[in-house]
């Protein structure tokens, strides 16, 4: 047995990696939402002064990455890896951002779970002694996703009540071997789960089994119960998916009702267009950077489980009537004073 592995799929860190800074950049709609004042930058329009939405998404990711570095007081030369991913074909927003950075780059794809995948890998790199500082980031843009996955943006169609609204947002975190900040305590890498959902207008239900499986494994592996966490955040199951996920866990004897929050239900107010909630790589990442990270840092939250979830389909597989596989990674985070706390 590997010394830092627990149970079937959980890794623990004897020396916990520290998240020394977090930055978020969002679009105008997100800026008007309930978390609006918490984001670092809010773009005035969805083009952010660029000529295409793809360029706008890259610019937002670039701004988030630069801000995270600036907040931590680090230069490119001091950062050993840049891990990033997004929703667009060939993850161009991330590679194009990396083009302007002088940092070794690993591109990731985990759909909306990307930031979880990046945090896990970044923590492994630091814990394994391969890096001092690792920059992790992800982004999504409503209009680039809409034209890639659905219809042209000006096509007049009704949104389906179970569908989710892709968030326009980018966020970056700096993981470090030392420094002040919330720490990564444990990581459970998820398995791909497919319960046969084929409806691309219901990604929440497609991802819910993966969320339930990962949370269940995490708790079993570490011998914990939901009450050991101040909050368990799913990253972004929406209303429909959250209900399905809680139901699946309840069947396994785990009641998450008291501690579960969905980042897809935190970023917007009650707007009918949003339907079941928000989604996108940028959603869970920006909510974490803007809201959860500061609350962990101040000690308002002592220990949380962040579980970004992703739907691993493409427009092609949906047209070929394939079902939608889902994935979820759990990252357990603790506040800076965790190791010195009174029992």
């Amino acid at each position: 047995m590997a010394p830092n592995r627990r149970g079937s799929s959980t890794c623990v860190f004897p020396k916990m990696p520290v998240i020394v800074s977090a930055a978020s950049v969002v679009g105008p709609r997100e800026g008007k939402g309930p978390l609006g004042p918490l984001f670092d930058l809010v773009c005035a329009d969805t083009l952010c002064g660029e000529t295409s939405w793809e360029k706008a998404e890259t610019k937002m990711l670039r701004q988030a990455v630069d801000l995270a570095e600036a907040k931590a007081g680090l230069e490119d030369a001091e950062v050993d890896f840049f891990l990033a991913g997004d929703l667009l074909n060939q993850i161009i927003s991330s590679s194009f951002t990396a083009r302007d950075k002088d940092i070794p780059f690993l591109g990731l794809y985990g759909a909306c779970s990307t930031i979880g995948e990046a945090m896990a890998l970044g923590s492994f790199l630091i814990s394994g002694g391969f890096a001092r500082n690792v920059l992790v980031a992800s982004s999504s843009h409503h209009d680039t996703a809409e034209r890639q996955y659905r219809y042209p943006t000006e096509f007049g169609h009704q949104r389906v009540p179970s569908s989710q609204w892709t968030v326009t947002a980018a966020a970056a975190l700096l993981l470090s071997a030392q420094g002040e900040g919330p720490k990564v305590e444990a990581v459970t890498v998820g398995r791909v789960m497919d319960f046969g959902i084929t409806d691309a207008n219901d990604m929440g239900s497609a991802m819910a089994p993966a969320f339930a499986d990962t949370v269940w494994r995490h708790l079993i592996d570490l011998g914990r119960s939901p009450g050991d966490y101040d909050a368990i955040f799913s990253g972004d199951l929406g209303m429909v998916g959250s209900k399905a996920a809680l139901h699946l866990l309840k069947k396994r004897g785990i009641d998450l009702k008291e501690v579960h929050h969905d980042t897809g239900l935190m970023i917007y107010g009650m707007e009918p267009e949003i339907c079941s909630g928000a989604s996108g790589c940028g959603c869970v990442a920006s909510v974490f950077a803007a809201k959860i990270y500061p609350e962990l840092k101040s000690g308002k939250l002592k220990r949380v489980l962040l579980v970004p979830t992703g739907a691993l389909h493409s427009p092609t597989t949906c047209q070929q009537a394939e079902s939608i596989p889902g994935i979820a990674h759990a990252v357990s985070l603790v506040y800076p004073g965790w190791e010195e706390r009174e029992p």
């Binding site: 409503h142 209009d143 809409e146 943006t153 000006e154 169609h157 389906v160």
Partner: protein, 116 residues
């Protein structure tokens, strides 16, 4: 009076299409394709012609009217030219809509950008 009939018939066709969309949970493209085909079938059965007489633009404006025009055009050309009319009539009768779609579609793309 035709104005009122146009409103009622056009509105009813749209409402029926909406109900089909909501009940079958398919997507708008499938409903549009089905509507055109249904229009062609109703036209062939001799049902759509009287509806056009009754409701004017209320029957020709929804996509079912597009299917009806295709059939009417083909039938006319088959009478005029024989079997080869099958290849000329349909698009001849619907050319005004298609040409307008190409011309104005291109023009709008030149003039405007999508707002998202």
């Amino acid at each position: 009076m035709t104005l009122l009939y146009a409103f009622l018939v056009g509105g009813t066709l749209c409402a029926l299409a909406q109900i089909v969309l909501d009940l079958t949970k398919t997507n708008p493209a499938f409903v549009m394709v089905s509507a055109v085909s249904l229009g062609a079938v109703l036209s062939g059965l001799g049902l759509y012609g009287p509806l056009v007489e009754f409701a004017g633009a209320g029957a020709t404006t929804p996509l079912l009217g597009f299917g009806h025009s295709l059939v009417t055009g083909m039938m006319e050309d088959v009478v005029r030219l024989g079997w080869f009319g099958l290849f000329t009539g349909g698009l001849r009768a619907t050319a005004s809509g298609l040409m307008a779609a190409i011309v104005f579609g291109y023009l709008m793309a030149v003039l405007f950008n999508p707002k998202g």
